[in-house]
């Protein structure tokens, strides 16, 4: 019998369900062998938000939801030998590690060790000028003085090291999402860099579960076409990885949701561009030969994924301040609603012209055409819509000047008393924007390091 490790996912993005990990832990407790629980809570811009929190308060800068994820399951996981791996350290993994020590101490979890992975923060090793001298491979170059954060994507090795040292909880900042699974697989099976097919196997499992319920029926359900039972209690995924490179995806027991060939295929290509070369710090994964087979209800096996050498350079994300987004919305419903909504758009357009605004403003009529449309409203212009209905006008502008963003929000509000008949339900927002750009950096610019914290010590 091949040795099997079991690794579940408790969150697929910052703000994912806070109770999702509970059934995952309950299921993992029934399994034997190496068991892990990951939380993936760090989207591209999340880290920049966290960096701002750290600038305000040096003891913060980790995921603001860390406690909400950890509190419900820490005791059960620790007492059952389920080790937790997460990037919820965000901009301050050390502070996150100390917080988890405090939680462990308060709960009397004697002997719990926390491994903290640092080294992704490139502003510790490079000046902003040096960072900005790198070619931008995706996005726009940050304006001078706007940089908020610069972090490289670390791989699985430092996570494996922390586990090797005995960590029960591993906290990282920026790392490649699949590394949350690659690290535990390296630790469990002794897989090493350069064993490309093996690392690709773990990367595949990580890729499939790191978005949580997206592989178990969520972001999938389409009534009558792709039916999913009990989506309100959708079970989060568990990957089973064997030392002979088998991967099976399943989900927490006694939950809703679905693991099928279809759910796995959709997640297999999620955020993938060239399927022959999915790049991570640990491996180049080729999924073109993958075979996806349902072995029993809610159990799907994936075979045939290949690995090639990892890219020489590491990807890094630069986050920078990018002005303001101003938005306003107002509804028109009932007889002749579409004409009243169109009139509202025309009034707003003219108000912008009177103000001499030369920043492009986007107008949607939600209910006619919005998310599928372009900034020029080509779909709405070409379409015809029921005169009576329930329509919502939306105006949006982005600008370096907060005043401009505020202007559009104010103009929508003024439609209450100075616009077409029956305008209702105004909502406005003016929010600062963060933007990101990607660069490639030499591996020696980010020396990952592991610190082991012991609450008792």
């Amino acid at each position: 019998m091949p040795e099997t490790m079991h690794i579940g996912c408790g969150a697929g993005f910052a703000g994912d369900r806070f109770d999702a990990a509970i059934p995952v832990v309950a299921t993992l407790r029934q399994r034997t062998g190496a068991r892990f629980l990951i939380f993936e809570t760090l989207a591209e811009r999340t880290l920049a938000h966290a960096q701002r929190l750290r600038l305000d308060d040096p003891t913060r800068g980790y995921s603001p939801w860390l406690e909400r994820y950890v509190e419900p399951i820490l005791k059960e996981a620790f007492q059952s030998g389920i080790r937790i791996v997460s990037n919820f350290g965000a901009a301050n993994p050390m502070a996150a590690g100390k917080l988890i020590c405090e939680i462990a101490r308060a709960r009397g979890l004697d002997g719990l060790k926390v491994g903290v992975v640092e080294g992704d923060d490139l502003r510790a090793t490079m000046s902003d000028d040096e960072l900005l001298s790198h070619a931008i491979i995706d996005g726009l170059a940050p304006p001078t003085g706007s940089l908020v954060a610069a972090n490289a994507y670390l791989g699985g090795r430092p996570i494996a090291e922390a586990l090797d040292q005995g960590a029960d909880v591993v906290v990282t900042g920026r790392c490649a999402d699949p590394a949350l699974v690659v690290g535990p697989a390296m630790h469990t099976f002794g897989w090493r860099e350069g064993e490309d097919d093996r690392i690709a196997t773990a990367t595949l499992a990580g890729h499939l579960i790191e978005c949580g319920a997206q592989v178990t029926g969520a972001y999938f359900a389409d009534p009558g076409y792709k039916d999913v039972e009990d989506l309100a209690r959708v079970g989060f995924p568990i990957a089973e990885i064997t030392d002979d490179q088998g991967v099976t995806i399943t989900k927490a027991d006694a939950t809703g949701g679905l693991v099928s060939v279809q759910t796995v295929k959709e997640q297999l290509l999620y955020e993938v561009h060239d399927p022959t070369a999915y790049l991570t710090p640990d491996v180049t994964m080729d999924i073109t030969s993958a075979r996806v087979t349902e072995t029993s209800a809610n159990r799907v096996a994936i075979e045939g994924v290949q690995g090639h050498p990892a890219p020489e350079l590491l990807k890094a994300t630069l986050s920078y301040e990018a002005g303001w987004l101003g938005e306003g919305e107002i509804s028109y419903a009932g007889p002749n609603a579409y004409a009243r909504a169109e009139l509202a758009v025309n009034v707003l357009r003219e108000r912008c012209a009177l103000k001499g605004l030369n920043t492009p403003v986007r107008f949607d009529i939600i209910g006619a055409a919005s998310v599928h449309d372009g900034d020029s409203a080509a779909l709405r212009s070409a379409g015809s819509f029921a005169p009576d209905g329930d329509y919502r006008v939306r105006a949006a502008v982005t600008s370096a000047a907060k005043d401009t963003a505020q202007f559009i929000a104010d103009e929508v509000l003024s439609l209450y008393c100075s616009g077409p008949a029956g305008g209702a339900g105004v909502r406005q927002s003016v929010t600062p924007r963060l933007s990101t750009a990607s660069i490639l950096v030499a591996r020696d610019k980010c020396q990952a390091r592991v610190t082991l914290l012991e609450p008792g010590a």
Binding site: R45, D138, G139, L140, Y219, F220, D222, G224, Y225, K226, Q262, K265, E266, Q267, L268, L269, Y270, E271, V272, H273, D274, P275, T276, I287, T288, S289, A290, R291, V292, G304, A322, L325, P360, V361, R362, D364, I366, S370, V371, H372, D373, G374, D375, S376, A378, L379, R394, A396, V397, T398, R433, L434, S435, T436, S438
Partner: protein, 119 residues
């Protein structure tokens, strides 16, 4: 009417898929419900047709990666997110809804490629 008769239907009747974003680039996966429909979809859902469908969003290039093993397709669409989640004025800066725009294209396929659904 037999299963060989051709019907013109939205792609949504024949295939499923999802989108993912990276910056201003979108990928849309597409999988036929009936594996045998793969070749016909390859013929009808071409790069040129997808580029045209997303022209109103400013799409500048489409690359289709074929995965006959699954079987399925991966469309990579450049510049379709009007700046992406960082800069877009669209409510859907990630383009998460756009798989269902692709699934609105029509295709002409044998009836056998449209799964029977409870109704």
């Amino acid at each position: 009417m037999t299963d060989d008769d051709l019907v013109t239907v939205p792609l949504h009747e024949v295939a499923h898929g999802r989108t993912g974003d990276k910056g201003n680039r979108l990928n849309v996966s597409l999988f036929p419900y009936i594996d045998a429909a793969f070749d016909m979809l390859a013929e009808q859902v071409s790069e040129a047709r997808v580029l045209e469908a997303f022209a109103h969003r400013g799409a500048s290039a489409v690359t289709r990666h074929d995965l006959p093993n699954l079987p399925g397709f991966n469309f990579v669409i450049d510049d379709v997110l009007e700046g992406g989640v960082n800069a877009s004025l669209n409510l859907d800066g990630h383009g998460k809804s756009l798989s269902y725009y692709l699934l609105g294209l029509t295709v002409k396929v044998p009836r056998a490629f449209v799964p029977k659904r409870q109704g």
